[in-house]
């Protein structure tokens, strides 16, 4: 595709200019102007969308006294990591980080195991109830936390599992498994069963054929699904707010909220608040860039391919 573009482009450029009549040149000039204009608009849009992220990082590196000045400075005037030190040492960040890491780890492992087995079932077998299961999975993935959190709160409180890692992980796993089943189904279906069968003809047992042949081919799918589950569990706010009411069991999103509230009591120190936001956002942005193409195509692939 790009090769074709390059060759045609060269051919047009090689056309002897003098032989062209004047109106064509004027039209080309206007088209070029239009392209410049579009490019400028595109760059302005890009700047608007990137600015909040940029501003978060810049502010996190700027001492609060400078942030309070009349005219904001749009590049790091005197960068320092003091805000980060203050956040990490002066707040419950370490305990919130531990909480988030444990919940995320439990959720990711459970989601991957459960979703992988279910994806295997629906893409390798045809059985009674399969369509009902797929239908249930697709609907459950759409259910909003807002429509369930009161019941989930009552359920965990009756079980004495408010403020517990396991309680919230069960809720997260239940909410994330459906989409992950759907995502992995595509990956499993992409590995032809004939490959496995060929290996079995060559003398491998069914289990060995699976572990040696199919499983390695599924690794990209498992990684993508794992990152998806990580992002969901790491960023979740609504359910955590309801079922983790104690201050000592806050996850990072809850901690960021109460960090801002505590800061607001003495006139918000935006430098520290932005350092806190950056600490939460950075790992997410990195992981997100790894998985994003798969997530876009997972959500709308049927529609794009028509």
């Amino acid at each position: 595709m790009s090769a074709v573009e390059i060759t045609t482009g060269r051919r047009v450029g090689a056309d002897p200019d003098p032989s062209r009549p004047a109106p064509a040149a004027a039209g080309r000039w206007r088209r070029r102007l239009g392209r410049w204009l579009l490019g400028t608009v595109a760059l302005v849009v890009a700047a608007i969308w990137a600015f909040p992220v940029y501003w978060m990082v810049i502010s996190s590196l700027t001492p609060d006294a400078l942030l309070r000045s009349e005219t904001p400075s749009f590049w790091p005037a005197s960068p320092s990591v003091r805000n980060f030190e203050a956040v990490i040492e002066g707040s419950s960040f370490p305990s919130a980080l531990r909480m988030s890491l444990s919940i995320t780890a439990v959720t990711v492992v459970a989601v991957l195991a459960f979703a992988f087995l279910a994806a295997l079932a629906i893409s390798r077998f045809r059985f009674r109830g399969r369509t009902s299961f797929v239908l249930a999975v697709l609907f459950i993935q759409m259910l909003p936390a807002e429509g369930l959190f009161i019941a989930q709160y009552k359920m965990l409180s009756a079980a004495g599992m408010l403020n517990s890692v396991i309680g919230v992980s069960v809720l997260y796993t239940a909410a994330i498994v459906p989409f992950t089943v759907w995502m992995l189904r595509g990956f499993v279906a992409g590995v032809p069963a004939e490959l496995e069968e060929a290996a079995m003809v060559d003398g491998l047992s069914r289990a060995k054929a699976f572990w040696r042949i199919t499983f390695p081919l599924l690794a990209p799918g498992l990684i993508a699904s794992g990152v998806y589950a990580f992002l969901q569990a790491w960023n979740e706010f609504t359910v955590a707010l309801v079922v983790l009411p104690a201050e000592s069991t806050q996850t990072l999103p809850l901690w960021l909220r109460s960090f801002l509230a505590a800061s607001a009591n003495r006139g918000v120190d935006w430098g520290e608040v932005m350092a806190a936001s950056t600490l939460i956002a950075l790992p997410v942005i990195v992981f997100f860039l790894v998985v994003q193409s798969r997530m876009t195509s997972g959500l709308v692939s049927g529609a794009v391919k028509g």
Binding site: A42, V134, L143, I150, A151, V177, L256, L299
Partner: protein
Amino acid sequence: MTAGPDVSAPPLTAPGAPPPRRRRPPRAPYALLLPAIAVMLVGMGYPVFWQVMTSFQEYGLAQQFGQPPTFVGLDNYARIFGDERLWAVVTRSIIFCLANAFVTLAIGIGVALLMKATHPVVRLVLQISMLLAWAMPMVASVTVWKWLFDWRTGVINWLLVQVGLTGMDGHNWLAQPLSFFFVATVIIVWMSVPFVALSVYAGLTQVPDEVVEAATIDGAGPAQVFWRITVPMIRPVLSIVLLLQVIWDLRVFAQIRLLQDAGAPVAETNLLGNFIFELGVGRQDFAGAAAVSILVLALTVALSWPYVRTLLKEDAA
């Protein structure tokens, strides 16, 4: 159901040849599904069941202290749906949701067209900035935007003063419901446009250039090409994206809740999710909260049906 590599396909398809191996016992797929089904039943199934039951029961203080709940039929629904506060919240939620979905879609399509029309380098810059915004955790995004809109030292007020709107100096955006929802819309649109733009752009790359060229040669202008060629060809993507956006914009509890922290008038800025939270967690009216939750779930399932049908078709293919 017509897929080729079907392990348990009936041996009728190859009548002469013996099946390559014994048919697997039909229990295998159910065993594989068991953990997923179990966790979904515990985490989602039981809460839905509890909600349906509770919405038909009296659930007051006595029940909090262990008395068996009494069946009251549709009393809770009558009480909640007779409350004009609920209808104010429902109206507000629907208007907010539709306005956000359409603004997001309009801007998202515009950005996708820009990506298609500009030089690859500019396109890459645009895509990277979209991905950055998309990757931001929701709580961090709302926090950053709160600062941008901060009434004392926020960049937005500073910018407005620079362009001559000196009255905006020290303007508190989150204090009035109308400007509160304006800020909420800016944040939600900023967070949602990347998904729409990248999905629509993926759809646009599927529109064959020849069709557009042929239309141009036949004398169609850019507007005509857009409405008569591009839009019909990417209609499947557009409808899915619009649908998802409407569903997602109904569940903005967290964004609204975080913005309310800055001292907004809560009663006038509550949307459906916040109303349920206030009823249940705030006033311990679990039966009323359950009734409203059922409304939200029913609304979501109804709205999701076209999307689910599209995905099911993909599954059957």
